[in-house]
Amino acid sequence: MARINLDHIRHAYGVRLSAPDDYALKEVHHEWDDGGAYALLGPSGCGKTTLLNIISGLVQPSEGRILFDGEDVTNLPTQERNIAQVFQFPVIYDTMTVYDNLAFPLRNRKVPEPEVDRRVREIIEMIGLSDWAKKKAQGLTADQKQKISLGRGLVRSDVSAILFDEPLTVIDPHMKWVLRSQLKRLHKQFGFTMVYVTHDQTEALTFADKVVVMYDGEIVQIGTPAELFEKPKHTFVGYFIGSPGMNVIPARIDGRTVEMGGQTIDLGFAPKIASGARTELGIRPEFIRLGRVGMPVTISKVEDIGRQKIVRAQFADKPIAIVVHEDGEIPSEPRVTFDQASINIYADSWRVGGEA
């Protein structure tokens, strides 16, 4: 197990670099705790797999250093970094049996055979393929193959970190839940440092202690699921996490008050905003109360999704979403109030602090 330091890392795939935008991965400088479970979350092409491959050593960063437990491993090849990685699509050794597939990473590292046997049996039990141990891996289903890939990632007990690159894409939904909770349990049991790449927020939020949200080659926020929900640092985080995402409304800040389309709200604090910055107010649909008091809105649509209703409405000429309890009433002359504590203010898309 290891603490991972990402020291001023930047990466570009091309050779010609003229602008900061040429970097597929913009500067990353963070320390990840030993034994933490991190999820890298972001849309396709945001640089999350690049970051993962930099950690595993499959990609060498153009700039910066990477340290495991304070030791510089930037120039070490993958083999010597002592990490495990599970890929999006199953990688199995067709000609080997399921057992030999799992034993492969151990045998390559000259682990004594009794120890190999013990570890493999343990893992094969966990992924539920005991009955297939002596079968060739070739004929298995995609599900089973990916379980073998997962198993190969978990079989070594001494790894610095285990990396997952969207490993559950090919697994069917029911099995996803089972495997994810198994991973979670393993993490609790053995305290591996785990890094998990995904574009699925549910997966990220349920798996990780800390979620690393990436956008456009940058880490925009690292936080617990609750932090990401309550205090998104960037409008992108607000939009990406949560369903529906946070409402972001252009607003004018004046001292302790904010003004949108003729409506003013008291913030309870005075955000410090550089002059000329584009300012917006962010509020999650869950924290908007729909009732007969407050600011007027025009309702355009109501979506019933079971235990909740999502109300689509026009507020200050902008579309917003409001979450209403399933038997919450929708008045004929609807008005809304924002929960003051849950309002976030953004200047040029970045959150402006006010709580301190």
């Binding site: 090849p77 083999q79 890929f87 990688v91 050794y93 067709d94 492969f104 990473p105 060739k136």
Partner: protein, 288 residues
Amino acid sequence: MQKTWNNKAWFMVLPVLVLVAFSAVIPLMTVVNYSVQDTFGNNEFFWAGTEWFTEVLESARFWDALQRNLFFSGVILAIEIPLGIFIALNMPKKGLGVPFCLVFMALPLLIPWNVVGTIWQLLSRADIGLVGYSLARLGIPFNYASDPLHAWITVVVMDVWHWTSLVVLLAYAGLVSIPDSYYQATKIDGASRWAVFRYIQLPKLKRVLLIAVLLRFMDSFMIYTEPFVVTGGGPGSATTFLSIDLVKIAVGQFDLGPAAAMSIIYFLIVLLLSWVFYTVMTSSDAAN
């Protein structure tokens, strides 16, 4: 893929059937016809039964040619398959080098077979050939026309030159279809270069290698033109392979009966050996 039962599909196969019947079945029937008859000219034929077959199978000449041919195919496969895989493994996978390599490597495959023979004749002759001359200057009197060993070396090297690229291209096509994540996984698993080859590349190459082995076996077993141009089957009968011998008997001596009987035996041997190769190479799949 799930296929539907439809006997009307026969109509789509019909053109192929007619064409192949014309270019294969009718000639083959002619051969069968000759193989059981005897003639003294004037288009008069007599039933000869299995006489020609017995004659061919009892002649040392046939067995010698068969032995030479088997040995030749064995040598060819033993050299070209590993060499072709080795070269394919070392080929660049992207960049300008790829089309460059492919174009040059494919070139020998598109040279008419007798021109291949001519090229090697021009290269190996001691008087005017670069290689033959150079060897002579080094004190090695190289003469493929009089020394059976030299003739064999020339024919084998010529075939390696001519056909190894086919194995290279097939193996290369198989290699580039392996997804990157396989190589990444082997690194993570700490696999050696050999293990990568043994457990990733070789299994993925199996299908194309089956094609390569079959094609190389069939074509080397049916070889005619190239050695005919270079050595004419000589010196003596050192490089007289089955095809060369067959043409000698059929066209040179016009012994239609024995030639036809030999043709049928020859064809059956190719079929049988191809079947053996196919069965052996796919047997591990069936066992699964």
